[in-house]
Symmetry: C2
Subunit: 479 residues, 2 copies
């Protein structure tokens, strides 16, 4: 009897569980089909009617480079505010934060003087000629002023070498010649390795008495454009002027130095800080219909370096963010959760916007369930990098199949973005970063070649498709 009962019960259980399983499977398949169809709808709308490319044209061509505190920053803020309104946000507001105001101040120059013998028989004397190098002052650096700084170049290929040769750099100009490692498939790894020579190199050379620094540009490009970017001084040592030099010129200098030639260069830069000023994160919001207190953030940074148009970095992310909003409105999607479209201030040389956003989220006790950033260029999307708990990762990774047809065939562990990092650290908010194909990013990153023409319309839009799809899935299922 007991046994029979058990048998029956287990039978019943099996029947029930089979039924449950079948229902779950059916529900899952239905969800998958529904989600798949909805993402197709997003994609069709963007690829047919997307405005991201034309919006980027305005941002890059009518406003251009827009460093924190510059007049262009204010123009870009107004542009973003109006565009978020026009694109259908329920509310749009400006979140104030103090931003640094670094000013380039003039045309960066560097040259060496070389003695050449004249080919002109009527002027047989050797003459001194100026050999110019294509340079750009690093962000946040002090200038040399019009008098310039002259000194002998000492080529350094690693910080280890700097430590060994620290006695040789006093009163010299340190030339960090650390090429991008071409063997990485993901170019961000090359940037990670060589990047510290830009961010820390000037400070470390100043510690040993160097009077200025030249850094090989952080790029794989086949051209000679110099690439700027922020450097961080060490308050314990003097600030020294620092420039990045184009890689063809870096190779030319290296060749001379390797031959044992003494190379004396003169550098003129004019960088300085004006007092901090007020900048703004520009925020548009779609209010959640069901869980309005649960906030999903999607964003990019509105500021850019001044020497290009900030097209890939990060105009692309800005117009993609707005495209997600525009598309949700265009297809009539009413999110369950509150979605915030945030264009952050001052990512490049201060991160004050990202910090402010997190600070206010903490102060207002907001519930942030997810944040997504696009700040790796407007190229063909390939994956998302996700940072969250293993359970959250499992959930997100299961959506790979839904995203794969649109490019993001993979969701990898780790990733996010500079601007949403503070929110993640403050509130443990899970975060993700769009990872487009990285091959061309450092060709233009922080260089004068980061212009509208370097962006492909469809690649840009496909990034936005994947962003919208991920936001939609998280809005539907939470994390």
């Amino acid at each position: 009897m007991n046994k029979l009962f058990t048998f029956k019960k287990s039978n019943l259980f099996n029947m029930r569980s089979s039924l449950t399983l079948a229902l779950v499977c059916f529900a899952m398949l239905t969800c998958f089909a529904q989600d798949s169809a909805f993402i197709r709808k997003i994609s069709d709308e963007m690829l047919r009617n997307g405005q991201a490319y034309e919006n980027l044209r305005v941002l890059t061509k009518q406003i251009g480079g827009r460093l924190a505190g510059s007049p262009q920053m204010y123009k870009a803020e107004s542009w973003a505010f109006e565009l978020l309104q026009k694109s259908g946000a329920d509310t749009v507001w400006k979140q104030s934060c103090r931003v640094p105001r670094w000013v380039r101040g003039g045309k960066d120059e560097m040259w060496s003087s070389e003695i050449v013998s004249s080919n002109n028989p009527s002027r047989p004397d050797a003459r001194l000629i100026k050999v110019p190098y294509d340079v750009v002052a690093l962000g946040n650096t002090i200038g040399t002023g019009p008098a310039g700084v002259s000194g002998e170049l000492v080529m350094i290929r690693s910080f280890e070498e700097l430590e060994k040769r620290k006695d040789e750099v006093k009163n010299k100009i340190v030339f960090y010649n650390v090429p991008f490692n071409p063997t990485y498939i993901n170019t961000f790894l090359a940037y990670r390795d060589a990047g510290s020579y830009r961010t820390q190199g000037p400070a470390r050379a100043a510690r040993y008495g160097a009077k200025a620094v030249v850094v090989r540009s952080l790029t794989h490009a086949e051209d000679n454009h110099p690439h700027t970017g922020v450097t961080n001084y060490d308050t314990a040592y003097p600030r020294v002027p620092a420039v990045a030099v184009g890689i063809k010129d870096a190779d030319k200098l290296a060749l001379l130095l390797e031959k044992g030639k003494k190379v004396i260069v003169t550098m003129k830069t004019y960088g300085y800080f004006l007092p901090d000023t007020t900048g703004h994160n520009i925020i548009g919001e779609l209010r959640g219909t069901r869980y309005p207190d649960e906030i999903i953030t999607v964003g990019a940074h509105l500021d850019s370096w001044d020497n290009g148009e900030g097209a890939h970095d990060d105009g692309a992310g800005c117009v993609q963010t707005i495209e997600v909003l525009r598309t949700f409105k265009a297809i009539g999607y009413k999110p369950q959760r509150t979605i915030r479209f945030v264009l952050f201030a001052n990512e490049e040389n201060g991160l004050r916007g990202g910090n402010k956003y997190a600070e206010e989220a903490v102060n207002k006790k907001e519930k942030h369930i997810f944040a997504l950033e696009s700040d790796a260029g407007g190229f063909t999307p390939r994956s998302f990098g996700f940072t969250g708990s293993p359970e959250q990762y499992q959930k997100v990774a299961a959506w790979q199949k839904l995203l794969a047809p649109y490019g993001c065939a993979e969701i990898t562990r780790g990733g996010g973005g500079a601007d949403i990092g503070p929110l993640h650290r403050a509130l443990n908010t899970p975060m993700a970063g769009l990872m487009p194909d990285s091959q061309r990013y450092f060709d233009v990153h922080h260089a004068r070649s980061d212009v509208f023409e370097a962006v492909n319309k469809r690649e840009l839009l496909l990034g936005a498709v994947n962003m919208a799809a991920l936001i939609y899935l998280i809005d539907q299922y939470g994390l």
Copy 2:
């Protein structure tokens, strides 16, 4: 006893099979690790020392467009022959084939005449002005000659519409205005859909008495460059001149026609055929050390349209093919099977090279175990398309994990290439095609913008890395 014996035997069997399984697993892991390391070696060599980009510069800038039969074709053949030798082929030879020789013959032109009233008060009369459209004659078309052809445009948006309106096109100029479908993620699908208006459109319009044809360019591009490509006449009907028009101009014309305006255009083209001439497939070979009779082909087509530099189509595939050879030699790889590096003649307007290669393979009773083609542009590699038996596909698909770190994260069913198609059909040789990211391909395909500058060095090289890796795996394990 019997049972015991069985038990023992099965135990023994289990032990044996466990051991076998363990050994197989170990062997597989070892192979995976070895293959993985070898592919890394290929990648490092190419990304550090790759010559593909500089070779492409020579092909595009010193030779340029190289249509079958043209003087540039012969220059390109010599270039390829020497480069295959220099890159380390055991033997290099030319395989002759008769190729068509279509000549553009002059500058393609099209304009409409519009009446405008002058703004100049001293010349108040209305005047006739020429409104030019950016056009290029389709490949293999007849010319209008210097007299040109004038006629009224009839806009046709599908072959169904043509059939319905067949009585309206007599003595008119048919304007096929079929845009690329932007909603496909893979742009080759848009090309497939709209492509037939270029290949069959002129013949089908001629059947109903049209005197010339204008085809909307097959592109997603944001510019107005016209895109050429082959068209096929129907021998039962007269040949009519046919041009492709840039898509901005196509939109302009469509707007006028949609408003009900009568648009009369004049077209001048000068295309004609000279007698067939002798072209060549240029073939380099690495002789197999173990199975020299088993041939693996890797190739691309050397010819290109005349209106650009044939950089992506298919200079990229040519230099990638040669890069595979150079790299195998540079890292000292001695293939087990014979590898043929083939630069095919006349893909664009005849396919005589591909046909010849297959014909000779049949005649010589060669054993072709695999063929690979790169003819979809020198962009970031994303997948291989494979055509073969289900068993062969299973084998190849298992290598996805080895290729994924280098871009080809997927091996899909179906694919190959125009030039290796005849070999596949003749000998049932399994074949594959490299599928790079397709977003930018049709921006430049068959247009004047298909130039060296449109190719990114690292994207080009990564394509070659994936090709070499696949060739290596097939060489090691057969199919």
